[in-house]
């Protein structure tokens, strides 16, 4: 134990120096780090400079985290409406009438064809609507999208299969992620993180956001834009929709969609040249321009409803055919509203409604306070423990204290390299680690003292102390590791930060408390050869 070869010393020091150097970038801002790297002379190998840093969690830097869930019911309803249109089209092609129309059910549609001959003709066409479920990951799954059942009394039920629904939810989630990303990006927020969580959820994290409410409003809207004709009176093919113009009163709108937001190529906020009211200017692609042109030509003089998420935003009268594929949406917007709407239209519509199921926002002021409190607690804990160790073990306590500081430095170094997230519980973990890390040293020192009391010589007592305490150190760290690893896997967000600190702390203890302390004591003993151990 008291012989430490030069190679071993160099290796130990190298590990420690590298580990500590890795922590350095975390003490500087991203800009400062970049400035430092670019200020280096050209011949200097920049890859050698550590640049990775600890990421501050949203609870420390301030920001918003929102978990959105694709609304399965809403998606199923949309799919059912689509299916109804498809069924209607299929029947029309065969010139068959369903008795009493086609009804929506919670899982699809149902209809009744009383006439057996007609039913026999219709069924293959309806069966053709059911397609094999394909999956990006699994490929052909062998399942079909629809489950078609026929009652003896002539009722036909078309239900979505679980496989079909799940595939659709998966597709909806990946589409929604794209739309959400575009909306957040266009909204001008910096460094958002958007990722899928579980089967049907999206986790949106936006650091340093000033106005989380606005973000929520933007993400919560489906932004389905439709151009439909205003009807004269309620009838079969007419929806009654609330209108912004008449303060939420419902107005009749034809069900047929002349053109929709999917064909938009651009949308920009602007001002109306006459009234100076904020508006949104939009531009169609070729297909949209054609459809829009045709619709406006056929309906000159009639009001056209601009419908956004089933609300009539405005219903201007068509004064002349609009064939250029450009137009404007007015609707008593504020500048902000016009701006937001143009962002929504550019980003596209969501495939289904997204529901906010969890939201956590921390203001930047609170985050700063937490960092300050964390620094203070770390400092005070360090001072208290360092004083206790020095008062109890003298020079050996000093060794332990050096090991302790290196230990904290190494945790930060490892976290930097892993670009791990530091959270408030993570800081608590560091502070707690300061208290528990010296346990290994205490175990060793107390054992050494016992061995000295039992009459051993100093070198042999030191040897026995380290050897015998080692098994216990491994045992006691393993027990802590068990708890920390479980916490890591089941914990979320901030709590996970705590687990990370703890797990890394257990790893570095072995380096610092065992190897580093041992080396310091060995070198010290070789240099001074004391007759009595000062502990």
């Amino acid at each position: 134990m008291l012989r430490f070869s030069t190679t071993k010393i160099v290796a130990t020091l190298a590990v420690i120096v590298i580990g500590l150097a890795l922590a350095v970038p975390s003490f500087f801002s991203a800009d400062q780090r970049k400035a430092f790297v670019s200020s280096l002379p050209g011949w200097f190998p920049t890859w050698i400079v550590p640049t990775r840093a600890i990421v501050l969690g949203l609870d420390l830097q301030g920001g918003s985290q929102i978990v959105l869930e694709v609304d399965r019911n809403d998606l199923t309803r949309t799919m059912a409406q689509q299916l109804r249109d498809d069924v209607r089209g299929a029947l029309r092609a065969e010139a068959i009438q369903a008795d009493g129309g086609i009804q929506l059910t919670p899982r699809g549609v149902q209809l009744r064809i009383g006439d057996a001959a007609n039913r026999a003709r219709a069924l293959p066409k309806l069966r053709a609507l059911s397609q094999p479920v394909t999956d990006a990951v699994l490929g052909q799954t062998g399942a079909n999208t629809l489950d078609i059942k026929e009652d003896p009394n002539g009722t036909i039920r078309l239900d979505f299969t679980d496989a079909g629904l799940n595939a659709r939810v998966r597709r909806a989630v990946s589409q929604a992620i794209e739309v959400v990303r575009r909306r957040v990006d266009l909204g001008g927020t910096t460094e958002p993180s958007i990722q899928q969580q579980g089967a049907d959820r999206i986790l949106v994290q936006v650091p340093g956001l000033q106005d989380p409410q606005r973000l929520e409003e933007q993400l919560g809207k489906t932004a389905k834009l439709e151009f439909r004709m205003l009807a004269d009176s309620p009838s079969g093919d007419v929806d009654m929709l609330p209108s912004r113009d008449s303060n939420g009163q419902r107005v009749p709108v034809e069900r047929r969609v002349m053109a929709d937001g999917a064909d938009l190529t651009d949308a920009q906020p602007g001002f109306d040249s006459k009234s100076n009211e904020p508006i949104v200017n939009f531009k169609f692609n070729l297909r949209g321009a054609q459809r829009f042109g045709q619709a406006t030509s056929e309906n000159v003089g009639r009001p056209m409803a601009i419908v956004l998420d089933n609300e009539v935003v405005s219903a201007p009268r068509i004064l002349q055919p609009i064939t250029g594929g450009q137009g404007q949406i007015s609707g008593r917007f504020t500048v902000q509203q016009a701006n937001d709407l143009s962002v929504l239209l550019r980003a596209g519509a969501l495939p289904a409604k997204l529901t906010i199921i969890e939201r956590r926002t921390v203001g930047p002021g609170l985050g700063r306070d937490s960092i300050e409190a964390g620094k203070m607690a770390t400092l005070v804990a360090t001072v208290l423990v360092v004083v206790l160790m020095f008062a109890t073990y003298g020079i050996f306590g000093l060794f332990a204290n050096i090991a302790l500081l290196v230990h904290v430095g190494l945790i930060l170094g490892l976290m930097s390299v892993l670009e791990a997230t530091m959270t408030l519980p993570g800081i608590a973990g560091i502070v707690l680690t300061i208290g528990t890390a010296v346990d290994s040293n205490v175990l060793i020192y107390e054992r050494v003292r016992e061995e000295v009391r039992a009459g051993r010589s100093i070198p042999s007592a030191l040897q026995a102390g380290f050897d015998r305490a080692f098994a216990t150190i491994i045992d006691s760290n393993s027990t802590m590791a068990i708890a920390a690893i479980i916490l890591f896997f089941m914990g979320s967000g901030p709590v996970r930060g705590f687990a990370v600190v703890f797990i890394l702390g257990i790893l570095t203890t072995v380096i610092t408390a065992v190897t580093l302390t041992r080396m310091m004591i060995a070198l010290w003993y070789q240099r001074f050869r004391p007759k009595v151990l000062p502990i």
């Binding site: 978990v67 869930e69 409410q213 929520e216 919560g220 529901t355 906010i356 199921i357 969890e358 921390v362 203001g363 002021g365 609170l366 306070d369 937490s370 409190a373 203070m376 607690a377 804990a381 208290l384 423990v385 206790l388 160790m389 008062a391 109890t392 073990y393 003298g394 408030l424 519980p425 608590a428 502070v431 707690l432 300061i434 208290g435 528990t436 010296v438 346990d439 205490v442 107390e446 009391r453 039992a454 015998r468 098994a471 216990t472 045992d475 006691s476 393993s478 027990t479 068990i482 708890a483 920390a484 479980i486 916490l487 089941m490 979320s492 901030p494 705590f498 687990a499 703890f502 000062p534």
Partner: protein, 316 residues
């Protein structure tokens, strides 16, 4: 230099005797915990209960008026709303979970913003819907159960059956009393509390393992020493380390309680009490428990022929 000694070098304290007090005391506290847990229950935070939590900080020039905020918040008609002073000059408002599923919570935020935006900034907003809170309860429970199972496995591989049993009794004791602490102090029980409990599991085991490592070593050395004497020796010889580590851990936690800020105060307080609890249970519960189940391969009553023990005492 005269060095600090928190515990005397040579101690021959009869810790095992005190089991006459510690066992009934712990049994009583455990039963009380179970009763209180069932009757009063935990003060679940929004992680597990769902709902909305906002922390309001008065804008420059304004002062926090808890009474006014309480009055306004209760006027919303969202049910039992808790309004408290929080940290330095801030106010925390906790709205219960609203009906209407995941979307029902949005209205709470709209009303809160409308009422408080003028005088306060929203420093923290947390909304947890019914589904997420249900999942968090599930993963929290799984975590605690899993950790106990993992600990059992570890002990099973690492220790003889009796020692493992003693350690698990101590760990369960600490979990139960920590939960009791949450019930009595009304400290909010949330995800961080689960972290505290798991850390306490780790620490509790750590304390027991250090003593039992020594017990095992002494069992090999003094094959015929009476169990009680052997256990007392195990504790006495590890006591200076136990006191030292408990003190350093407690000191760092005191720093956390005093300076760590309001958000983790609950965690820090529970951990601080937990450290004391773990130290107590290792000495007064886990170890004396071994007297009742006996140590395998170790004679329990052979006070007469104890040459090893005599040898040991002679060596001192």
């Amino acid at each position: 230099m005269r060095l600090l000694r928190l515990w005397p070098d040579e101690s021959h304290f009869d810790f095992m005797r005190l089991r006459r007090f510690s066992f009934p005391l712990s049994a009583l506290l455990s039963i009380a915990t179970v009763v209180l847990f069932v009757t009063i229950g935990l003060n679940f935070g929004i992680d597990f209960k769902g709902g909305t939590l906002v922390e309001l900080r008065p804008k420059a020039g304004a002062t926090a008026d808890v009474g006014a905020v309480r009055h306004t918040a209760n006027g919303f008609g969202f049910g039992e709303t808790e309004v408290q002073e929080y940290g330095q000059g801030s106010i925390s408002v906790r709205f219960p979970l609203q009906a209407g599923g995941e979307t029902g919570q949005t209205l709470v935020m709209q009303k809160a913003h409308a009422a408080f935006d003028a005088d306060y900034t929203f420093e923290r907003v947390e909304t947890v819907g019914p589904r997420v809170s249900g999942e968090l309860v599930q993963s929290g429970t799984i975590g605690v159960v899993l950790s106990v199972v993992a600990v059992l496995m570890y002990l099973w591989f690492r220790f003889e059956r009796e020692l493992a049993l003693g350690a698990i009794v101590g760990t369960l004791h600490d979990i139960v009393l920590t939960v009791g602490l949450f019930v009595i102090t009304r400290i909010e029980f949330n995800m961080t509390s689960i972290a505290a409990i798991l850390t306490i599991v780790g620490y509790s085991l750590n304390e027991t393992v250090v003593v039992f490592d020594r017990t095992r070593e002494l069992m090999r050395r003094y094959k015929t020493m009476p169990t009680v004497e052997l256990l007392n020796l195990s504790i006495n010889s590890t006591m200076s380390r136990t006191v030292m580590t408990a003190t350093s851990t407690a000191l760092s936690l005191v720093a956390l309680v005093l300076f760590g800020g309001e958000a983790i105060k609950g965690f820090s307080v529970v951990m601080l009490v937990g450290v004391v609890l773990c130290t107590y249970s290792a000495i007064f519960i886990s170890t004396p428990f071994l007297i009742y189940i006996g140590l395998q391969g170790h004679s329990n009553r052979s006070p007469g022929r104890d040459e090893d023990a005599a040898l040991k005492h002679a060596a001192e």
